[in-house]
């Protein structure tokens, strides 16, 4: 899922302190799972902001809503009839949702309430870590299911580098060396001989470097 982290309250307040009627819009999917932008977080942010504005003597109306998703037309349409009454919207969806809301409601001020971080897994409650960077050409078949692009700090396709120490990356003792993980798994699967195959130079044109990406499926298009 997409993992995000709450923006500090002070930062959000700074963005919208000039408005007097604000909607806080959460999302029921990824940001709910990583406890950054779901219904609960919407409630906490709204309550906190109300108290702040009251303390400043600024009468501000803060409404709350949590949409199923903010990346599909159908769910954002639910706001069609009510959105014009708001001076600003703070969206707690990931960067995708914030943008889609801004596109759809062109005349509305839309602000981000979370920092979108990466595509990753829930290791345990409260701990999420990166697994995929969307390179557009998956190579997991050749690396025993562990991605060197997202999990190696240098995205080496023929690692490890000389800084790998006791299974940890040179940049942090808390970071596993992706290549140690790959080698361990290749060993477990009886495929360590694959290690000596030289991975070819990557075609990065399907990644961010090639420009903003699009997937078009003519077979399902209407």
């Amino acid at each position: 899922m997409i993992v995000a982290n709450k923006k500090p309250i002070e930062e959000i307040i700074e963005m919208v302190k000039g408005y007097r009627k604000i909607l806080i819009a959460g999302c029921n999917e990824c940001v709910t799972v990583c406890e950054a932008g779901g219904k609960k977080e919407v409630g906490v942010l709204a309550s906190s902001m109300r108290m702040f504005f009251m303390n400043e003597g600024l009468k501000t109306e803060i409404d709350e809503i949590t949409l199923e998703r903010q990346c599909d037309h159908e769910y954002l349409e639910e706001l069609r009839n009510s959105i014009d009454q708001y001076e600003a919207v703070v969206s707690l969806a990931c960067g995708v949702g914030v943008q889609f809301m801004a596109e759809k409601y062109f005349a509305t001020h839309v602000y981000p309430g979370v920092n979108t971080c990466f595509m990753g897994v829930t290791e345990e409650r409260g701990v999420w870590s990166e697994r995929c960077q969307g390179c557009g050409k998956c190579i997991l078949d050749r690396t025993a299911g562990i991605c060197p692009i997202s999990r190696c700090a240098k995205r080496l396709l023929n690692g490890p580098c000389g800084g790998s120490t006791k299974g940890k990356c040179e940049i942090s003792k808390d970071l596993d060396c992706a290549w140690q993980l790959i080698i361990d798994r290749l060993k477990e699967l009886g495929r360590l001989d694959e290690y000596e195959e030289i991975a070819p130079i990557k075609d990065w044109s399907t990644e961010r470097a090639g420009g903003p990406r699009k997937v078009v499926r003519e077979d399902v298009r209407q």
């Binding site: 309250i9 002070e10 609960k40 409630g43 906490v44 309550s47 906190s48 902001m49 109300r50 108290m51 702040f52 009251m54 303390n55 400043e56 003597g57 600024l58 009468k59």
Partner: protein
């Protein structure tokens, strides 16, 4: 409530939003929770509430968690007195005053 584990961060915040001067959460001794770790969850939420209340100008000192066992009646009263004293010293929730001026 059966356990402080049911106290939600939002319950605490809404109380202050509505003008409460102070909130104290009283739970079982740590390690003795009837429901295993409810009181530990409560403590974390109280800490979160403190941080938020400091940031929005209400004051994190207005919320506090106490631990005692259910048989300690006198101590319960003691904490109540302590909390009341502190809140009285701090004065009313600044929101009330600020909203009074704005009205």
């Amino acid at each position: 409530m059966p356990c402080t584990g049911k106290v939600d961060l939002l319950h605490i915040l809404r109380a202050f939003e509505r003008g409460a001067d102070g909130v104290y959460v009283v739970g079982c001794m740590e390690g003795d929770c009837r429901f295993d770790r409810g009181n530990l969850r409560a403590r974390k939420r109280v800490e979160q509430a403190k941080a938020i209340l400091d940031k929005v100008g209400v004051g994190g000192e207005r919320v506090k968690m106490f631990n005692l066992s259910s048989g300690e009646g006198p101590r319960f009263a003691e904490y109540a007195v302590e909390m009341t004293k502190k809140i009285t010293e701090m004065g009313p929730n600044p929101i009330k005053e600020a909203m009074g001026k704005a009205a």
